[in-house]
Amino acid sequence: MIYGATVAALLVIMGLSLVRAFKGPTVYDRMVAANTFGTLTVITLAVYGFMRGRPEFLDIALVYAVINFIGTIAVAKFVKFSHLGHPAGDDHGGDI
């Protein structure tokens, strides 16, 4: 019961983080949102495993906790070193 409620809440929160991933405006905003989405996926997996009474889902959550980091680092590293990270939309990098 509580697990179901938590999973539902987490799904709503994931949907909210998608808003930032779409709105941008810079690539970095999307990266922050994607990283958050990954963390939320990990937690959702863990809670979902409890909800179904199948704790082996935790192994996947474990793999995801590692992979999420790798993806963010990869993007950040290449953005940093190849200097390709221009603001996606307008020129005002930080404004909404």
């Binding site: 991933a21 590293k77 990270g85």
Partner: protein, 200 residues
């Protein structure tokens, strides 16, 4: 219920992907798409597929796509309206949907795929192989070669990650890369200054 929410997420992310012009943003959204896909696999009880999706979809494919982007440009060319690609995509989609019409219901025990070798695995795997988990014995013994291939894929992913995250000792730092950085920094500074001058 959770299926539908995740499917809606995937559809929304896919639409956002199609509309996005900046290719770095596309890579990042692909990461989100892959996360959602793996979550959906777990919800549909395909735990091992979710594992592979986690390692390959979110990890190595992000790295590969970003590495490709480093070689090309980050901005997609302005879209031109073409009928042919739209036709191809629509047709493929229609064929795929038509293909699903013949499939048995999800989780149907009388489906053909559950009649062939599955009963044998369920009855004999404990005696023939050993582990208490049937999926484990299928993956590690009955389909050993397949799993070997998968493990090689994941090993490649790990190797790529190690190359990416390799530790730089100060003494091993390459000189040209520093120079490149200095040059690039100068240009970005100039760009920032120009941007500042142009904006009111």
């Amino acid at each position: 219920m959770i299926h539908y929410v995740l499917l809606i997420f995937m559809a929304v992310v896919a639409l956002g992907l199609a509309r996005q012009r900046n290719l770095f943003a596309v890579v990042i959204l692909f990461g989100i798409y892959s996360f959602t896909a793996a979550l959906l696999y777990v919800v549909m009880d395909a735990v091992d597929v979710a594992f592979t999706e986690a390692a390959v979809g979110a990890g190595i494919s992000t790295v590969l796509m970003v590495a490709t982007l480093a070689l090309t440009s980050t901005e997609e060319k302005p879209a031109t309206w073409r009928v042919c690609p739209l036709l191809v995509v629509t047709l493929t989609g229609a064929v795929l949907i038509y293909g699903t019409l013949d499939m048995p219901r999800y989780g149907d025990p009388s489906a053909p795929i559950h009649q062939h070798v599955a009963p044998h695995y369920i009855e004999k795997s404990a005696a023939e192989v050993g582990p208490p988990n049937i999926v484990t014995s299928v993956l590690a013994s009955y389909r050993g070669y397949d799993t070997l291939g998968e493990v090689i894929v994941i090993f490649t992913a790990a190797a790529g990650v190690l190359v990416l995250l390799g530790r730089y000792r100060p003494k091993k730092r390459r000189v040209p890369s520093r120079k490149d950085q200095a040059v690039a920094r100068k240009t970005t500074t100039r760009k920032a200054a120009a941007r500042k001058a142009s904006s009111p």
